[in-house]
Amino acid sequence: MKAPAAANCTWQAKGNDMQATLTSSTNYQPAAYKPHWVREDFVDFVLAKINPLWTVTRTMARVENIEYIEDDMVKVTLSTNHLLNRRFKTFKAGQFIMLTVTIAGVRHQRAYSLVNTPENYAKTGRLVIGVKRQGRVSNYLAKQAKIGDVLEIAPASGEFMLTEEATPALFISAGSGITPIVPMIQQALERSKLPVTLIYYSRDPAFRMELETLAAAYPQFDLNIIVDSAEKPAFFDVETLERICPDAATRETYVCAAPGLMTATRKIWESFGWSDKMRQESFLPIKVDENAEAQLVNFRRSQREFEAKGNLLASAEAAGLTPTYGCRMGVCNACVCTKVSGSVRNQVTGEINDQNNVQIKLCVNAAISEVVIDL
């Protein structure tokens, strides 16, 4: 047990009678509390009894089709309800949706890129996601989900999208990083005649047919699929860049791939001074910095204290706690909670946060001092 001082409270001894006053209890003020008039999930509860797609706050989607497009990649088609359709009119090519499935009583959430364009969605009312078969949720979708199932999704989000202005574009991708790129390419080709180049590394290229159809239809599209193998891996370097896209300097570049390729491209772009012309997206969980010194973290509501090395969420789980989480990469806010005291470093931005009682995301923060968290 921590002394209350760790929770920002001051003890005032009154004489020697051991009576104490915890001043924080009298100074406590909740931030902007607003009671609800009707619990939103009550309305959803009643409506869903009539039709599982009729929900006001949650957004539900029905599985219309599940189709393998390569050994470990599945294309899932979803239809949404009318309320949701209105929200989805605004999604941008390159964005992803959060999809929730309940497995053994636990709701798991994962982000999946939308592989059809907003224009296509407006016409068909269908959302198409690319699901790489790895991890619990994807395996569930690929193996257990059935046509007709109703799943919860959250409206599209993500910053990885085309620039407002049409520009010549270069896309670099590898493996399942292709999913957000497919609709972006299609949109770029549809909106202008400016050149679009794709460099796509893969052992078993997904969306090959779609991409080849686009290449046939749009002469300004230069498609480069580089099929590599475990024995003969292909590498991206300056030489490859100059060979395939000599005018890269004039282009807006979009990269979505595994960390190795991301770092390689970032280094090249930095060395040429083009960094501001590159947009990146990674779907891999934040890497744990093994070198970080272990810090003492106190989850005060559950009365647990543990040593955290790096990532707070992973450390908490390793200690047997089960904090709420979602995407595990800092985009969904599911793991947001109040840091009562201590300093943390954001593993994505490198930002240091040393203020008390602020909201932090467990999944992208590492403790750099003793930390007390209100969980």
């Binding site: 047990m1 002394a3 209350p4 001082a5 929770a7 003890w11 009154k14 051991m18 009576q19 104490a20 006053t21 915890l22 209890s25 009298t26 406590y28 003020q29 909740p30 509390y33 607003k34 009671p35 609800h36 008039w37 619990r39 999930d41 009550f42 509860f45 929730t100 309940t102 053994a104 009583g105 636990v106 709701r107 798991h108 959430q109 005060r300 509501r301 559950s302 009365q303 204290e305 047997g320 089960t322 904090p323 709420t324 989480y325 979602g326 599911a334 909670c337 209100d374 969980l375």
Partner: protein
């Protein structure tokens, strides 16, 4: 003997443990927690959804019955009681447990401790502070755990006696009837004003969330639903008042039985030196259980397992029933008193505790001495006084 608490404060029914034994006790409790945690999954999720459905169906049914058949006395009575039960389950087995974060692992926002706000005047926000943090961390620590008498009742001989404590019993009765308002106002520390420690304006300045939640609750139960019922205004209003009353009396009784029975101990502030194992011991000594059947456990929100709830506040409450025998076994091994008994027995202890502490310690002692002296007399008088002396016996004094 742990160095933390002066021996005198320990219940004489518990053996004094060596520091090694205390540590071992803690390890055993930890092991039980880990073993149970490993079992948590689908079954627990199903359980809490069933509880939620129970609350919703009973609420819909009782409110409709009040609205359409409220003028028929038996219907009115049945509907009001059902609404009361619905509120009891919502507050205790659903709200209380969800707000503890017991079901956060499900990742369901509607079952998330941080978001949930229950159907009672006390705002979820305030309660998560006074209860989840203050009360559960500093359980039964005098001067810190505000649940000890809620600032207005005198619950232990270590609390300084004030003339207003003479009203301990009637005050407790008032708190029972208006329990939801007491919880709602707890965070304001109105007693600071009563004791002249803070001006009324300062005390009230902390009432932001209280005002919002109270307005919502009052409007919902006493304006919106009665008005919606049109000609059925009065039966609905009366039904809602009754339901809230039933819930208040029940919740108060269960909560007081959980912490203020005769054998429950109070602690002095030694927290900065306390180990986790000692924390477990404090939770054990500061709580009391009640023996009852399945329905009873359900209606208490499993707070009939107050000891287990205090040791494992973030564990799904439906697991307490299987943990309790294990905890009791560990306690027996270590010679620690496991405070449990029937609802009637525990409630009697509570009433006695409240009554005895309405008088200054010295007065209680001299009354006791007098009774004991009289009890030695022969004949009927002696017998009567012997009875009285026995009734006045009380563990901590």
């Amino acid at each position: 003997m742990s160095t933390l608490y002066p021996e005198a404060r320990f219940n004489r029914k518990s053996r004094v443990l060596s520091p090694e034994e205390v540590a071992e006790f803690g390890r055993r409790i930890d092991a039980l927690r880990d073993a149970t945690r490993a079992k948590i999954g689908e079954q627990d999720a199903k359980y809490i959804y069933r509880v939620r459905n129970f609350v919703r169906y009973t609420e819909i049914a009782s409110r409709s019955a009040l609205m359409f058949g409220g003028w028929i006395p038996p219907v009115w009575l049945l509907a009001s009681v059902t609404l009361g039960v619905s509120k009891i389950v919502e507050n205790m087995e659903l709200g209380h447990n969800v707000m503890h974060g017991q079901f956060d692992w499900m990742n369901d926002p509607s079952m998330n401790g941080a978001n949930y706000d229950w159907d009672t005047v006390c705002s979820g926000e305030d309660w998560k502070h006074t209860h989840n943090f203050m009360h559960h961390t500093y359980t039964n620590v005098l001067g810190v755990d505000h649940d000890i008498g809620y600032g207005v009742l005198r619950m232990t001989d270590s609390q300084e006696w004030k003339p207003r404590n003479l009203a301990n019993l009637p005050m407790a009765f008032t708190l029972m009837v208006g329990f939801e308002w007491l919880l709602a106002l707890q965070n304001l520390h109105l007693e600071d004003f009563l004791d002249g420690k803070a001006p009324l304006t300062k005390v009230l300045s902390k009432g932001g969330s209280f005002a919002k939640k109270a307005t919502r609750q009052f409007t919902k139960d006493y304006v919106v639903f009665p008005v919606l019922a049109g000609p059925m205004f009065l039966p609905v209003l009366a039904g809602n008042v009754t339901a809230n009353l039933i819930r208040n009396v029940w919740a108060f009784s269960i909560i007081f039985c959980g912490h203020f029975t005769e054998d429950v101990e109070m602690f002095e502030n030694n927290l900065d030196k306390e180990t986790k194992a000692e924390w477990y011991l404090r939770q054990l000594k500061g709580s009391s259980n009640m023996i009852g059947g399945k329905v009873f456990n359900f209606l208490t929100g499993n707070l009939s397992f107050q000891i287990e709830h205090h040791m494992f506040p973030d564990m799904p409450a439906n697991r307490y029933v299987e943990m309790a025998p294990e905890v009791q076994k560990i306690c027996a091994e270590f010679g620690q008193h496991y405070n449990t008994g029937s609802f009637a027995k525990q409630m009697t202890g509570v009433v006695k505790r409240i009554a005895i502490h309405s008088l200054p310690n010295e007065t209680v002692k001299s009354i006791r001495t007098t009774l004991n002296l009289q009890a030695e007399k022969k004949g009927i008088t002696g017998k009567v006084f012997k009875r009285l002396a026995k009734a006045a016996e009380y563990a901590p004094l």
